[in-house]
Symmetry: C2
Subunit: 452 residues, 2 copies
């Protein structure tokens, strides 16, 4: 009987992260200071980030050593399993061989802990006692809370108020791990107070929460800020996913024709795909890498490659990336983790240069794939991860047409245990696609900053 | 660095279940027909169970082969990981070595799928097209829904109405796997209609739901009934847990001094402990096995060893077991899976004969252990499983006093992702212990049936 799971031993947890900047023909343009429009200096970042992360953000070293203490904590769930989707393949009647790398076994239920742990590690090494961050639905906040608990740091999470009120489960998870969770906008920061003065009933936004967390961190010497996606060092940390996946496929005697990941801020896609893209960049492998995004927030497929702010309040450095405009607010789809207006500068540059592909799906198609996957493979996927499943199923169906026995690898970035309300809506036939508003897109793109 | 997880390959999934009846000096007394008081014949059971399960219920064969199709489905998550609790040990400053076997990696999030899969397999083999069952909070119903989906059988779950209304997540999970979920009492059965006629606003009970499911199954030739704990064949199927655990500890060069499992109907405790108890029964190993139950439902520690009904409606056979009386209704503690009034006849007989120990805890002590575990090991445990954690921590603390480096193994039977509301109550300081009512206990025991 063929194996269902390909497992690695703990001794096979990667010892180094892979830095794709070593192999990219075109590096991302430098981040610019939001006030001056000049490249940001490391000094300017040191108010909110520790030195090691500032260095990782810019280095062109190909391999960066994973600290032993980080690897020890990775052992709580890593190496994560890779599955051969035998039952899904049979249901699709496809000659394709489908594999998925499952990050939902992490205590945080998502890939996010892969970067939360090293981020807290480096902050502790720099003498930091407390970390402030923002969270939308609570995925990043949960992971950071756990990592802070493991290293004995305090953690304050500014959680978008509407999620704080309507999605209690991840809030409770953060509390269980000892974090202070604050509904944003709050009266704890000037940014929050300003919003509340104008809109006392504001339900908040990720943009406001970022501003609160950054203000909190910048104002206290013992406190730093942490971000769960987009930045280079975050993508770097996530490469443990793809490095393990390569080794697992090697054990199975396989190499993928197609690698698929869902893509919001980009770190999940980067983590899985970059170690494979290394072979394409340096050896010309004929690999396809597909970033999958929601039609409601089609950053790569409909956005513009330009300098833009990371937040609505225009506090962050300007990054050159695919963006829908920092004022763009996507519809309230269930894949909350894919609603960011921009994308990782690394992923954006690779897309701009034609190394990767992108595709967008509506959420009813995505949930149809999620339910088919659950019923065959048993795992209820996160709505974000289900975007990758949709694309993988469609690639496998193309193989059924063409008869090609392609090897398809996709990233199952998390489980859907906290997303079951969305499944109920879908199963009741009440889930709706929310097509992109062309007006909102034009409006968002019209607010891109002018850079000299 | 010492390993955190001890993993097995899929080829090491057990090929046979272990039947402890082969090694027990005293077998459980036979089940009696509820009407006649005479031992139940296999024929009487065939209205609701397939022949293979009726045979497994009574056989004294030591080893029973696991069908290949069942093992193939076990591969979706088995072998389950065993963890060395390094971080918990350090937090407790104990010389004990603590291991836990984690069943929460199952798609159903609990150990329940270990028996749901073979039960549906044997029903399909007997030509059955549909299975009816009951569920309280939805743990067993989720597992059975998945198993029915995997084998293409229809599944109808009678879910206690109060849980149906207040705990939507597991209900949605069952729907996602294609099951029909009915709030019980319902108008689908005579049993349900009788209750509704008297109490139109009834919120239901497990006793009523069992009656509805059994009536449904008995009334249709294409339909059987399935039970998620208590019975011998259920304990048998769960021994995959302990058989794997033995092999994993062998790999670590260890043998447990103490084996600990939470105990409601008994199948989780049985699954972990029986393969180790085999060594005690046949070779005189000095192993301690501890069943942990809630103070609010102390079946082993305060119940009576006697014949009793499995349900309030007195429809099931009489089983000789530790029981608080079939009319006993425990307080509404959060560990819903440990609220059954009786216990597995196998576990009961072993306890009666002194082969195992039992201990009961209040729920605030249990949640204190759960939070300590989550903050050190990262996994948020199910409230049921946290009973075993409490006992394991207390054994480890005794080792700190005595200086003994004992090997403690406990079963982490599931994750707490659907139980976070209970954590919120505990963290807010609002969780209360609900001491056993001596009056309720006396009342329950006074209704034990008189058997000739």
């Amino acid at each position: 009987m063929p194996e269902t799971k390909i497992l690695l031993q703990e001794s096979e947890i990667p010892e180094r992260w892979y830095n794709i900047m070593a192999d990219m023909p075109n590096l991302p343009a430098p981040p610019l200071h939001p006030a001056t429009g000049q490249p940001v200096t490391p000094d300017a970042l040191s108010a909110i980030f520790p030195p090691a992360l500032i260095e990782q953000e810019a280095t062109r070293e190909r391999w960066l050593e994973i600290p032993e203490e980080v690897r020890e904590l990775y052992r709580l769930w890593r190496p994560s399993p890779m599955y051969r989707a035998h039952r899904l393949e049979r249901a699709l009647d496809t000659p394709a061989r489908i594999y998925y790398k499952y990050e939902g076994v992490s205590p945080a239920g998502r890939h996010k802990l892969n970067t939360a742990i090293p981020q807290v590690y480096y902050n502790r090494a720099a003498g930091i006692k407390r970390i402030a961050t923002e969270t939308g639905a609570g995925q990043w906040g949960s992971a950071l809370s756990m990592a802070c608990q493991f290293f004995g740091l305090d953690c304050t999470v500014y959680m978008v108020k509407v999620s704080y009120q309507q999605k209690p489960y991840r809030r409770i998870l953060m509390s269980t791990f000892g974090a202070e969770v604050i509904a944003s906008p709050s009266d704890r920061t000037q940014a929050g107070r300003t919003v509340l003065a104008e809109h006392p009933d504001s339900l908040g936004s990720l943009g406001i929460a970022i501003s609160e967390a950054v203000e909190d961190a910048a104002g206290r010497a013992d406190t730093n800020y942490a971000l769960g996606s987009v930045l280079n060092h975050v993508c770097l940390h996530q490469t443990v996913i793809g490095l393990e996946a390569k080794r697992q496929l090697e054990k199975a005697g396989e190499y993928p024709d197609v690698v698929i990941g869902c893509c919001g801020g980009g770190s999940n896609f980067a983590g899985l795909a970059f170690p494979f893209l290394a072979d394409k960049l340096t050896q010309g492998k004929a690999l396809r890498a597909i970033a999958v995004e929601p039609e409601a927030c089609p950053t790569l497929t409909r956005g513009k490659f330009a300098y833009d702010f990371g937040d609505i309040a225009q506090l962050t450095p300007l990054l050159q990336m695919y963006t829908l405009g920092h004022t763009f607010v996507p519809a309230g789809i269930h894949a909350g983790g894919l609603r960011y207006h921009g994308d990782s500068p690394l992923v954006s540059q690779l897309y701009h240069d034609g190394w990767i592909e992108a595709v967008a799906y509506g959420q009813t198609q995505v949930f149809a794939a999620a339910v088919q996957f659950a019923r065959t493979e048993g795992i209820v996927p996160a709505p974000e991860s289900a975007h990758a499943i949709r694309a993988a199923i469609d690639e496998a169906l193309k193989c059924r047409e063409s008869g090609e026995p392609k090897v398809i690898l996709f990233g199952l970035s998390g489980h859907g245990h906290f997303d079951l309300a969305a499944y109920e809506t879908y199963l009741a036939g009440d889930l709706e696609d929310v097509p992109l508003s062309e007006n909102a897109l034009a409006e968002g793109l019209s607010h891109l900053p002018v850079v000299r």
